[in-house]
């Protein structure tokens, strides 16, 4: 067991979750106190000792499923001839145990390969309709063995099998069927009750609630299928190999430029708390950063309670200057999501700056500051940028030279010695002229010029990237590929 735990901790560390030695010891201690056959409790209590941040929980859960998957009751791997009464131990007895469960048992136990797709679809439909957990599990198993097409030793990740299984089950259609059925049920009820009206159906509220209910059941099914696939993969390849192949980076470590759509959603979700935390931290830093000079009046006032002895000296709070920020962002396809995240973050903490102005460009340049004014939610403004900003001049391919020149002509005057300028982009200029003299001019006028590049450092100055040319005139060029790096940079800026 301890070996298993050590392997598990190693896997967590490899997935990027920091686990210290003392936490590892705690986890080992945990196993002494919690009954080993209680898998759920082990999962939560081990989690409590090892995982100290809720964003790391999904990664932990995945790793746990892999390492401890074969060790629960009712998790027999024998595919077809498993007995459903084993699984039904986990069934919540309050959830309509009788009829649905027995039916599922009959079919699941006897059927296996002999089941037609129609029967399986029917069983799925019934399972979802009755919210019967053991039946949903049974369907998940059947579906995986039927449609997953899993082959031993094939080096593909679980997502491939998941995709295949889900495509064949066609859950959208099942959903429609469930809703239809509910509609008919209500209208039938209405008919019986005597409200004879052809258009009496579910109210939108009811329909919405039903839809959410079915959606949650379908999500449960999807989870079952996922874990079923994972179980089989573990049986095939062993925990460690599998963990390696399906390990995913934590949200803050995802490479923004190459994020998939799911990852982008995860990123967006973690952006809001991140910017909030950053804002709180900076506000505190400002208030409590240094002590100012002695506040004589306040000190004397407070000394009254100690009989005139100034026990507790009071200090004035310093008022540090707030920088002005100008953000100039490339929003052409390749770096668009990165620019959006940065704009979002900068504006979310705009109270830390005396002024924030944003410009976006592809080959033309446009000011977008007004989009952020009076909006509570920066993501709305970011959305408007995509649709409304006028950034295409000729062909919609990045042209840094032209964009910078126009910026200098129109707004160059407004850069003051209090301004920090942030340039965002990969500096892939499609072999246009660089316009780096503008950066030089900006540098001579502004307090700082920073360039944030979302590309890995190794790719800089390869192909049409000319970031090196701009770097000559910047205070610093920063590699900014993940949210973590971005947060660090913005935090230091304020």
């Amino acid at each position: 067991m301890l070996d298993l735990l050590t392997g598990f901790v190693g896997e967590l560390r490899a997935a990027g979750i920091p686990v210290s030695l003392s936490e590892h010891l705690d986890a080992a201690e945990t196993l002494r106190h919690v009954p080993l056959e209680d898998r759920e409790s082990i999962k939560y209590t081990l989690g409590a000792t090892l995982v100290k941040s809720s964003t790391h929980w999904p990664a932990y859960e995945t790793a746990f499923e892999i390492y401890f998957s074969l060790r629960g009751p009712g998790y027999a791997i024998d595919g077809e001839d498993e007995r459903l009464d084993e699984t039904s131990t986990e069934d919540d007895p309050s959830n309509q145990p009788g009829q649905g469960g027995r039916q599922g048992k009959g079919k699941g136990g006897g059927g296996g390969e002999g089941m037609t797709p129609e029967e399986l679809a029917d069983m799925l439909y019934k399972a979802l309709l009755g919210a019967n957990n053991s039946m949903i599990q049974a369907v998940a198993r059947q579906a995986v063995s039927r449609y997953g097409g899993m082959e031993a030793g094939r080096p593909v990740g679980g997502t491939y099998y998941l995709y295949r299984t889900l495509r064949n089950l066609d859950l959208d259609k099942v959903m429609e069927r469930l809703i239809d059925q509910a509609r008919q049920a209500t209208s039938a009820e209405n008919d019986e009750a005597g409200h004879a009206g052809p258009d009496v159906t579910l109210t939108p509220l009811e329909e919405r609630l039903l839809r959410d209910e079915y959606q949650s059941r379908i999500d449960k099914l999807r989870k079952e299928i996922e874990s079923e696939i994972r179980r089989r993969l573990v049986a095939d390849r062993g925990s460690e190999a599998l963990a390696r192949s399906i390990r995913k980076p934590l949200p803050e470590d995802i490479d923004v430029m190459h994020a998939t759509r799911d990852e982008l959603v995860a990123l967006r979700r973690s952006l809001a708390p991140l910017s909030r935390k950053l804002a709180v931290r900076l506000a505190r830093k400002r208030r409590h950063g240094r002590k100012g000079p002695l506040d004589f009046r306040s000190t004397v006032r407070h000394s009254l309670s100690t009989g005139g002895v100034p026990v507790d000296p009071k200090f004035r709070y310093p008022r540090p200057s707030k920088p002005e920020i100008i953000v100039i962002a490339d929003i052409s396809g390749s770096v668009a999501s990165f620019a959006r995240f940065t704009l979002h973050l900068v504006h979310a903490i705009s109270s830390q700056f005396s002024k924030v102005r944003s410009f976006v460009f592809i080959d033309g340049i446009d000011e977008v500051t007004s989009f952020f004014e009076g909006v509570d939610d920066p993501s709305e403004a970011v959305h408007r940028i995509n649709t409304e900003a006028d950034v295409v001049w000729v062909d919609g391919h990045s042209d840094y030279g032209h964009a910078l020149t126009v910026f200098w002509e129109k707004w160059g005057e407004e850069i003051t010695p209090r301004t920090s300028v942030l340039l965002l982009g990969d500096a892939r200029n499609n072999y246009h002229s660089s316009g780096s003299w503008v950066v030089k001019e900006i540098r001579s006028r502004a307090r700082h010029v920073y360039w944030l590049n979302p590309e890995p450092r190794a790719y800089w100055d390869s192909g049409d990237s000319i970031v090196g040319e701009y770097a000559n005139y910047c205070d610093e060029v920063v590699e900014c590929r993940t949210l973590r790096q971005l947060e660090t940079f913005v935090g230091e800026l304020a």
Partner: protein, 316 residues
């Protein structure tokens, strides 16, 4: 001051075992099993899930503090209160805020009384006087020291620990890992019993690694549908099952929307109570719309939710 006082345990006289052991004797375990925790909490009207009961059980067994994190209004503070009620312990609460310091959290010397003592000259030498004014009589105990010194069982709740500054967190470290407080003038005060400690955090900032490492971590999220329904039924007297079910389902739908602030459990309970008071038997779109302001606290959220839930109501 003399050196032989440095390890004195105030209040009870010096207890040599405690000094040598370095760690307070763990009392008998409070709970027999995880299920006992769960059923016990249910008795005091707190419905725990696997995670919550498991971690509370473990906290008792390992004598470790629990760091409870999660969205506002999901029952973090309530958990500590319920555990206190369940174990018949005294609840000592330290509400954290920005600017909280040693003198408010741990202990403070009673300057005024010390000044009086000095002024009321009784002809003592300075040596004697100094020992006198730095004795326990002149010590004001604050929540943390109080929890340590108490001889009866105690649940210590350190509420919203994310509000204190990073530096102040360090104050907590000694008490959380060793269950002791060092007072330079007096020596080290060790715990008479090991209190169950709960720290809550709304996650407005990242807590330091040192603090997290010493705690068990528990994330309380919005409850699943079934649990929320059960919570409504226990906490709202006189609610019908059908209405509780409907409330829980509507709340789940609202939470799935992209809102600024999703409705918390406590807001859900408020809403359910309102509906009971209004004598509502089953919610229709109109009523939901009229009472949404109890669930949601932002104008834009209310607009959005009422549009999603009811605004499309054309047939009704």
């Amino acid at each position: 001051m003399s050196s032989d006082q440095s390890d004195m345990v105030p209040g009870s006289g010096a207890l040599p075992e405690q000094i040598t052991s370095g760690f307070p004797e763990a009392g008998p375990p409070r709970f027999d099993s995880i299920d006992a925790v769960r059923s016990g909490l249910a008795r005091v009207d707190y419905l725990a899930d696997d995670g919550i009961s498991g971690v509370v059980y473990l906290a008792d067994r390992l004598a470790k503090p629990v760091l409870v994190e999660g969205p506002a209004g999901t029952g973090k503070t309530e958990l500590a209160k319920s555990v206190a009620r369940l174990t018949n312990s005294r609840l000592i609460r330290l509400q954290c805020y920005e600017g909280l310091d040693e003198s408010k959290a741990l202990y403070e010397w009673n300057y005024k009384k010390q000044l009086l003592r000095i002024q009321a000259d009784s002809g003592q030498s300075w040596q004697e006087l100094e020992e006198d004014i730095f004795s326990e009589e002149f010590l004001l105990t604050r929540p943390l020291l109080e929890a340590i010194k108490s001889t009866e069982p105690v649940v210590l709740l350190i509420d919203e620990v994310d509000r204190v500054e990073l530096e102040t967190e360090a104050l907590l470290l000694e008490i959380l890992s060793e269950y002791q407080v060092s007072i330079p003038e007096l020596g080290t005060v060790r715990a008479q019993q090991i209190p169950l400690v709960f720290l809550t955090s709304n996650n407005t900032r990242e807590l330091s690694e040192a603090l997290k490492r010493r705690c068990l971590f528990l994330h309380i999220d919005y409850p699943q549908l079934e649990r929320e329904r059960a919570i409504i039924e226990t906490r709202v007297p006189g609610i019908s099952q059908a209405l509780a079910d409907q409330v829980a389902r509507i709340v789940r739908s609202i939470r799935s929307l992209d809102l600024k602030k999703a409705p918390s459990v406590s807001e859900t309970l408020d809403w359910a109570r309102t509906l009971v008071v209004l004598g509502v038997e089953s919610i229709d779109a109109e009523q939901a719309k009229d009472t949404l302001h109890i669930l949601l606290k932002y104008r834009s959220d209310i607009d959005r939710a009422s549009k999603e839930l009811a605004g499309l109501d054309t047939t009704g």
